[in-house]
Each structure stands twice: as C-alpha cells, then as structure tokens.
Subunit: 506 residues, 2 copies
Amino acid sequence: VKLVAKNLPIATGDVVVAVLCERDATRLDLHPSDRIQLEYGRKKIVATVDVMQHFNGVHGKYQKHVLRCGQVGLFAEAQEKLGVLSGAQVTIKMAKKPVSIQYILKKLRGERLSREEIHAIITDIAHDSLSAIEMTYFVAGSYLHELSMREVKDLTDAMVSSGDVLRLKSRIVVDKHCIGGVAANRTSPIVVSILAAAGLTVPKTSSRSITSAAGTADTLEVLFPVTLSLSQMKNVIKKTGACLVWGGSMSLAPADDKIIRVEYPVSLDPTGQLLASIMAKKKSVSATHVLIDIPVGKGAKITNKKHALELKNKFEALGKMLKMKVEAVLTDGSQPIGNGIGPSLEARDVLWTLKGSSEGSLLLRNKSLIMAASLLELTGKAKKGKGLFIAEELLDSGKAYEKFVQIMKAQGGKEINPSQIRLARKKHHVLASKSGKIVHIDNKVMNKIARIAGAPHDQEAGVYLYYHKGSRVKRGERLFTVYSDSKERLQYALDVCKKMRGIEIT
Amino acid sequence: VKLVAKNLPIATGDVVVAVLCERDATRLDLHPSDRIQLEYGRKKIVATVDVMQHFNGVHGKYQKHVLRCGQVGLFAEAQEKLGVLSGAQVTIKMAKKPVSIQYILKKLRGERLSREEIHAIITDIAHDSLSAIEMTYFVAGSYLHELSMREVKDLTDAMVSSGDVLRLKSRIVVDKHCIGGVAANRTSPIVVSILAAAGLTVPKTSSRSITSAAGTADTLEVLFPVTLSLSQMKNVIKKTGACLVWGGSMSLAPADDKIIRVEYPVSLDPTGQLLASIMAKKKSVSATHVLIDIPVGKGAKITNKKHALELKNKFEALGKMLKMKVEAVLTDGSQPIGNGIGPSLEARDVLWTLKGSSEGSLLLRNKSLIMAASLLELTGKAKKGKGLFIAEELLDSGKAYEKFVQIMKAQGGKEINPSQIRLARKKHHVLASKSGKIVHIDNKVMNKIARIAGAPHDQEAGVYLYYHKGSRVKRGERLFTVYSDSKERLQYALDVCKKMRGIEIT
C-alpha cells in the first residue's frame, strides 16, 4: 500500500512513530502500537503505529488539519531516518512486533531469560523499537521477579554492546561511582585528580542532575567544557591520563537512559537494573578497577544499613562476574558533604579543597582522600594501609591540583581563582531558631531549596551551609545562605525553608 | 509562577498534558510525568508535565517554533478543561502525584489492596489522572500477583462507580456476554430478541471489533443506528423491553477501556482484569441475571478446557459476590459460528436466522437457542428443561423477529430484506485443494482474511463460508468466497489465504 508522507512537527525523543487515519489503519488491519515497515527509495524503517482519531473538542488525538486519510504522518524520528519530504509517496508494509516482546512477557511470567533474550530486549530498546508501555512491562517484570546475578551480568553486557565502547591501552583503568542521593557530594574531581596524579588512567564520565541541585557534570561545567565526543575524550585521556566529562553526550550504554525514563514516574529502581545500569557505564569505558560509593543514612537513598550491605555484596559479586575489581564502600549519607549546594557553589568548594585553602570543605576533603586511598590500594599503586598517606601527599603537595588544571585545560578551560566564581546576587541568610546541636541536615530538603532557588539551570543559585552535623549553634546565628538570581524564586525557596525542616537542632 | 498559554494541535485522547520548556521546568523543579496545577480565572486543572527539548534533527520532542520558554503548551484535553485561548496568562503551581501511584506500587510489591485503594486507582484512571506508564505498572502488578476474588469484586465495583449507571425498574434484568475470539459469533441479536419476546428486560450493550472482522455493534450498524446516549437507550428499553446498542458511546465503566489500551501492546489480559471488566459492564446496566459464553477449542482465545472451567467458576463466584445470578457456559470455539464473516455478511445471517429462512445459519440458530434457553431457565421464565422448547417457539413463531424489528425501529432503523443487504462487488472463490473432511476452520485466520479484505470498516467486505467442520468436500469445490471493494485488498487477502491455512481438510 502506498500513502503520502506528511511530516508532523512532533517527536517522541526516541520511538519512531507513524500516524495513520482510522480508515487506513482498519484496512491494513493495524492498531496503535502495531509495527509497520515504511519504504522510501532504498530506505526501509520500522515504525510504531499511532492511529489518528479526528477530534472536535477532545475525542481523539490530532486536529483535523493535521492528517487526512491517504496520508501517513511522520514524527521527527521517522522523517530523519527515512529522509522524506511531505508529499512523497511511501510504501507501507506490515512488520512483526519485535520478538523481544515475547521475552518481556516471559520475564513477566517469572521465567529466567537467556543471554540471547536479554540481548534482544536491550538491542530493541537501544534502537528505539520498543514503546514506553512495552519497556514498562520489562521493568515491572524485573522488579517483581528479581533478576538473578547471571541475568544482571547478561543485562550489563547487553547494555555495553548496545552502545559505543571507549578502548584504552592501559592495563589498569580506574573509575568510581556514587549511587546518589547526597547533596554536594562532589568527590569525583578531587579523587580523579589524585589518582591521575599518581599515574593512573581515569576516564571519568559523570551525569547531570536529575533530582539533585547539581550533578558533577553541572558543577564542572562552571569551570570548563564537559560535553565532549568520544574521540575528544580519548585525546584528553592521552594527554593527561584522565578526563572529567559529561557521560550523556556520548552513546555509552544508551539503553540504560531509556529504561530510567520509564522508572521515573513511579520512582521504581529494581536492584538488578541499578546494578547493570551503573556497571555498564563503567564497563563501556573499559574500567578494570571500580569503587562504588553507597551513602547510607537518614535522608539518603538507602536508609537501612543491612540493605546497603546487601547492595555492596551484589556490586562486588557482579564485578567478579564481569572480571572487574570492584570495591563498594558504605559512606555517611545523612547530610550534605560539601558546604555549597548548586553548580557554582560546589565548583568553588572543589577548587578550594584541591588548592588546600582553609575555605575548603573538610568533609569533602576527607571523603575524597578515603576514596582515592581505596582505589590506590585496590590497583596496587599503594600497599595496604599506605593509600591514605599517598593520597594526602598528592593532594597537599599540589600535584592533584596541577593534574586538575591539566585536565581542565585539555578540555578547553582555563584556570580560575575560586573566589572569582560568581554567585547569584540575591541572597537571604537563614538563622538558627534556637540554640543547640545540629543533629540532622536533610539532603532532600536542601536539594529542594537549592533547586527552587534556580540550581542547576542557574549555575549561580544554590545554598551555602555554614555548619554540618554535630556543630553547636546559637539562636540567631547563620545556618545557611540561599542564593538566587530571581526575587520570586528566592522567596519561593524561603517558603520551602519554612515549610520543610532542612536542619534539625536539639 | 505565571506562563503564557499556547494551545497545541495535539491530543492524547485522555491524559491532560501541559508542556514546559526545559529552563522553566528546571526552575520549577519539574520533570516529565510530574503534575502541575494550572489556574485560569476560576478554573483549576491538574496536568501531567512534558518537558520540551528543542530539536535540530532529532534531539528532542518538539520543533523550535512549537513552544518558547515562558509559554506553557496545552494539549487539547487541557485546552478544553481550562477553556483558555493562546496568549492568556495561566498560573502554574506544583501538584502532588496522585496517591493512587503508591497503591499501584503496593500491588507491584505483591500486597493486597483495600477497597478504598482500588477505588482510588480506578477513579484516577477514569479521570485521566494516570499516565499510560503508570497504568501499565498496575496491569503488570495485577498480572504478576493475581488479584484475589475480593480484590476483583472491589475492582468491579470501582469500575462501575467510575462511570454512569443505567437504572431500570424491572426486578429482573438480563444480559449476556461472550469473552470473544470466535468469528461470526453473532448470537446477541437473536438471544436478545427471544428473551425480550418472552417479556424480559435486556439492556444489551455490545462492542465494536478490536481484532476480529466485526463486533456485534459493527454488524448491527449495517441495519440500524447503534450509537445512542444513555437516555435514548433507556427510552428504547421502555418501548421494547430491550435494546441493541454500542457500549462505547456511553460512559459505562469507562476506566475499563483505558486499561485495555495498555494491555493491547503485549496482548496481556490478567484474569482479574478480564473478570472485572466484563462484570462491570454488566453491573453498570443493572443486570441481575447474566450468561457468560466461554468458547473453548483450537483457534479460540481459550484452548484448554481446564482453564475454561476455572474461568467459569471464577465468573460464577464473582457473580455471587456481586449479588448477581451468573451462569457461564463452555461452548465450541474451534470454528466460526455463522456463515458470513464481516458486518454486512453477519447482519444478513442474523436476519435470515431470525426470519427462519433456509439460508440462515444452523450453528448460529442452535447456539442462540441454547443460550436463550439457559437465560429463560436462569430467570425462572422457563422451568428446568423447558427453556429450549420455549426459546424455539418464540423464534419459530416469528415473535423474536417481530421484537427485533421493534427494537430496530425504536433505535431509528427500518425493516430491510436480508437479500437486499449489499455486499462488496469484487469477490473471489477459494476452492478445496483436495477432497476430504474439514477438520478445522481457524478463527484467527478467517478473521484476518476478512479484515484484510476491508472488514469491519468496509461493512460490505468479508468472507462467506459454504461449509463448517465435519463436512466432506470434493477437490475444486468452493470452500468460501472473499468479498472486497478494492482489487488490491482482495489480492492481499488472497495472499493471506495462500500463506495461512484457514481450513484444514484430511
């Protein structure tokens, strides 16, 4: 059957969609979510069908002028892949549903999936051949029937092969990852600089914030470009032994990001998916030695120590299966790490700490040193028990900072004085309402305040903490300052401060 | 925060969507699938957020001219509910996710849901407050952790209260339903006519075809209007004691249809959902006595007798819980019932059979009589063992046909001679490739051929069978005729005849 292409100004962001009018769909025996093959010249693509019902008011999906019978409406993804202009004739053929839907149903029934079945699902996800509803069934199935470690391993491998892989010559390639949930937890730039200064190869990719006030990529972007291509990243590593880039601009384990999108609406994160997601990102940069940071505590992602230990064991077991040396450490997740929360404020803390300034954050320094020490020992760069000493020396001698500047310059940035980092002009000091000891600083609330103030989009917005847990404060003393570029957002952030208790004093 | 409304020419068909640009979304701390409240004048609505990423080629969701920062894009549903024109200022506030998402997660964890929790989920689905992904998790949860009969009962009640209810004065209200999967299974018009002729109240609603060549609503629409409002339906029942309408035009148990939409992509139909879905439609027309037709056999939905018996028991148990008399019968599902497959062909069979013509379908007559007999006995209109006798008398005396004509006229149709029903002009006879006995006629294949030929959209298209199972045919004899209005579709249907064996001869 031939239909006339009509390019629509809509895109899904991933899945390739073609729209048919109801009459044509019935004639072709097609339903929404069925698949068709579109042919134009030599190009052939498979698209998911949406069926247009004209609406007067709200009885269908598209307005009358959008599509007529005899036309096939193409979302942006289909336009790009098929390279067709409106008005051209396109041949429509029926296509089968991806066979991976059968495997998803198999998992939903509680059966184990083979390596080949898992690869088929992940390949289809990476190629945008599965719809959000279909992916949701996969996530639900993996949540309900927890994946075996063998399945998690296969899932990891499948995610790695679904995308690009950074190949490096070094025998030892080091990486670290934090499972998240803690504000101002900006250890990566410091750890990476120490390790690279020790001569290790560290191809660090970081994410942007999803629900926090800043991701490592958002923070470092204040100082230098982080959006690099895979070959640019390789060049930086060749020059400096390390890099500090945004992982999202590359196609490393791309299926993972698509799965995360259908987990978000119900905040579901099946353990198997979490393990595979993280380890796939590490494996796709060829990491051989990996440290996983698992923050535990009130206000963190994981509040229960037993649960955290189980996760640690799973990470380490998965590491063995993948032939990687993995060490997972439980860290304090009950309060923000650095003083600043928000891209610019966190970038300033990182620089101060790397330069050994008295304005640096002690918690950030200590946590970074401990993590670097673990990796120095894991890789054999330091003997057992000597890691911390070497890490301290590399940091305090300025060698780590020198390395950081090298990386910064290789990525296209230039040195900057931390006190010259601009902060938002509008600010408000939040004072202690009573005297006493700080017993809790809530990561979720502090992140929320900083986000409402404008972070991470407004780099200069955020929160600066004057105290951490255990400190004694007097009534009326400054607890933290909120920075924002907009009077309205500042006010709104202060409303949140009043409604939700970010800092508890007893 | 105030943004400027921009009405977009897109609709979801159900969920209320508002689109923000990425910058505004970040500032408001909003992510795709979060909820916001929109205020315009006195109107307040809750919408699900989609975040626009501009794209060059395919890196986001909408083309640049679609939406600017500072604007909020409204899908048709939001436009209608808010009653706003492009350019007007709309106030945006954060809204919480529906609490029912917590209950969906509870079901996903395998816990039982309370009556109130089930009602909350169904109410949110009926009000389009849950997205497809969120509903999918509910379906997956009910599939994996089979609903208890108590939960099914609560689900049924919730579906009924989510929509309109037809209230009738009769003490006895009769209904029937077939779980589907059998071609040309057009017993309803005949059963309803017999029962109404016996003085029973039969508010019959039927569906349109989803995957078959015709639903009862599609078939009857050849003869008279079936799209009635609830009050029109009530009037027809008042006049004639019965009706034969399309259920989809009314808001009877509307949540059900939305759930079915997320089941289709993976052909999932959890038993609990199936039971609740069918019984809710029956309860919402106040049925007191219900017959459920469960076809079993090769090529039917249910191929295993044990499975069919389990389903029968569940239907009857659910009936008791709902205080309805329910009888479920296992019928032969291994071949099409009538001779014609497709709206016009099936309508002709129904009329011939009602009029006692020798051209009528014997299988259709017999099955209809047995079903009518069961309901006459179930309601006490006939003594045990006398139902069939009374049903035959009502059919053969012409009283059932008279009642059918009454209903037809009350719904706005007029009498028509079955041989005057138009069929598609292009046709092709499919001949027996060898002599022998017909051992199987596959419902799925015959439906497919009829659909490809144009049914149900082209009412006149379809298939006419000359023989049923058990008949002996000679090589070269006509097995069936395919009707289509288009040469191309006829050819395509014939290709299917060659590729898939619809009729097996041994």
